[in-house]
């Protein structure tokens, strides 16, 4: 595969828990806790996990919409965690994000044409006269008639708003687009339209996607590689085919087996996990998955497993596959 366009190294984001009159910090929510991965040029890396696992915080921290607590983010060869605010703003032209909720992510008081033009004007890509012509082209490209540009967001349906959000990201000709649950809030029939649009745009403009979702069916369809997060950590990362056909981490296995498949004849062995996802404010000692794990060994409650490459390109954080852990 091509070279990495984005390298995330030991990324950490803790949020303080404040209590009392003096807002004293009494603890930390370890939303993202030592996460490392690469995203290659032109690929789609799916980032999957349940609510609260830190997948959205990972994206926001990469963009420095949240400042990372520790770690490095190398975009296009540059460590962007050290950049000054102004330089970071320039850098963000190349890294765009599409949010989940198309209702709250578009300013209700701005016309759609201004929402889309704003970034292009800020980055001096076009002057005032040409910018709206470009807005029209972008709208047409995402499937909205150009003459709708004078409308306000509330005049559009959910699916159309998500198209506007895509046009806004597209306008800056980014190298990488983070899609944060970009299709989760949409109805079934609209969702597939937007997924197709995202795929077509990738073919046309050679974008790289970091595609964040909790829906494994969508992840399977759109991704080239998949990483799964659990309570702030990546527990497995592999090529899509390996990930779905031969998952190694017990959590990945359970996650895949839990997805309801729209086929009454589809027989599978379901692994039903006991208990709930632990809070990232107070993660279990050792492996964070061990209280719910059906393969847990003694070591799992004591030592936190590292993400190791067990086969070329297949990373797993589980003692079961770790030579030091004793098994296989």
């Amino acid at each position: 595969m091509a070279k990495p366009i984005l390298q995330v190294r030991h990324l950490v984001k803790y949020f303080p828990i404040k209590k009392g009159v003096f807002r004293k910090t009494v603890g930390w929510v370890r939303a993202v806790d030592d996460v490392s991965f690469d995203v290659y040029e032109g690929e789609t890396l799916g980032l999957v996990g349940e609510s609260g696992c830190g997948k959205t915080t990972t994206a926001l921290t990469i963009l420095r919409l949240e400042e990372p607590t520790r770690g490095q983010v190398i975009f296009d060869g540059k460590d962007i965690t050290k950049l000054k605010r102004r330089d970071m703003r320039k850098m963000r032209k190349g890294m765009q994000i599409i949010f989940q909720d198309p209702y709250s992510s578009l300013d209700p008081r701005m016309k759609v044409k201004d929402i889309i033009a704003e970034g292009m004007l800020t980055h001096n890509m076009l002057n005032g006269r040409n910018v709206y012509k470009r807005v029209g082209e972008l709208l047409e490209r995402v499937g909205i008639p150009a003459d709708y540009m004078n409308r306000f967001p509330h005049e559009f349906s959910g699916g159309q708003r998500q198209r506007v959000g895509i046009a806004r990201a597209l306008a800056l000709e980014p190298k990488i687009i983070m899609c944060d649950e970009a299709v989760s809030a949409l109805d079934v029939s609209i969702r597939s339209q937007i997924i197709n649009l995202l795929k077509d745009l990738q073919n046309e403009f050679k974008f790289t996607y970091l595609f964040i979702a909790h829906d494994l069916s969508v992840i399977k369809y759109i991704s080239d590689r998949v990483a799964v997060m659990y309570v702030g950590k990546i527990v497995e990362l592999a090529d899509k085919k390996v990930f779905f056909d031969d998952p190694l981490h017990p959590y990945t296995q359970a996650l895949i087996s839990a997805v309801p498949v729209p086929n009454p004849d589809y027989k599978k062995k379901r692994i039903v996990l006991q208990g709930d996802v632990p809070s990232p404010a107070n993660p279990p000692k050792g492996c964070r998955f061990h209280p719910r794990c059906f393969m847990a060994m003694d070591i799992c409650s004591k030592v936190e497993p590292e993400l190791v490459e067990v086969k070329p390109g297949h990373f797993v954080a589980c003692h079961f596959y770790d030579k030091k852990g004793g098994n296989s």
């Binding site: 349940e50 609510s51 349906s157 699916g159 159309q160 109805d187 079934v188 029939s189 609209i190 969702r191 597939s192 339209q193 997924i195 197709n196 795929k199 909790h214 829906d215 494994l216 069916s217 969508v218 399977k220 369809y221 759109i222 779905f244 359970a254 996650l255 895949i256 087996s257 839990a258 997805v259 309801p260 498949v261 729209p262 086929n263 009454p264 004849d265 589809y266 379901r270 039903v272 996990l273 709930d276 996802v277």
Partner: protein, 339 residues
Amino acid sequence: MMAKKREKLLEVKGLKTYFFTENGVVKAVDGVDFDVYKGETLGLVGESGCGKSVTAFSIMRLLDYPGKTVGGRVVFEGENLLEKSEDGMRKIRGKDIAMIFQEPMTSLNPVFTIGYQISEALKIHLHMNDREAMAKSVELLKKVGIPIPEQRVHEYPHQLSGGMRQRAMIAMAMSCDPTLLIADEPTTALDVTIQAQILELMKALLQEFNASLIMITHDLGVIAEIANRVAVMYAGKIVEYSDINTIFHFPLHPYTFGLLTSIPRLDVELKRLDAIPGFVPDPLHFPKGCKFNPRCRFATDKCREEEPPLVKVEEGHLVRCWHVDRVKEEVKNGLLVGV
């Protein structure tokens, strides 16, 4: 999966529920017919605004102004619920027919303990005293898999996780041994591993209590997992109605067909999603003729003029489409080749 001797528990006929809004009349449910047999699960599937939840609320008579059921019959165990007095209805709700909602955080009362809320129905319907009701609540919580039920019974909804709250709500629904359960998107707000837990639990309880279920969801995967028969709704009407295997392998309504070929799925490798074009029509401005016609690739002039009736294609398979034969041609060999 044919039920043994099929005994009808609920019969919904010509149900019409309209919303009288300032902008006009919204025909949210416009002539819906279906039956629920004893011990079976009927899936009610569709996208937002198709009328599936309103159908459930109409059966339970839980609609407020501006919504009003203006026509039809809901016959439950021989009695038309729409003609019952409010008092008579109250005797049925929570006892013979219980409901599970999507968001347990908003449907449980935040200021009462879980135990108090489960006890309420037991005291009203089964005339238990406080102590009996509390003991029964603990037993129910245990049954739905809540750990340390003796302690949990005294806790408030906010002290429980989303999955636990949904379990508590199921315990409440099952408390008076209902014959019919209506679940409105009960797993939609849950994470996938928790959803799996809840689905397994519901399946086990249905069997144990021999209750019928109307499962309302937009998720065809959930339907495939739990339902025996399915009604697909679009724009206030049922467009296809059949047993589960037929719906998934030989669907005959272009909308059902489109839904199934457009969704990404784990069991088949798809090159491209065959998305349904356009969007769900605004209920104040439904298209003339078949309501699906602007999005349908089978549509002809007839579809744009005249709304098709729901007709029987085969025993137990009803479809609302003028062009069943043409759709049939396409799915002749089964919808999913290679499964």
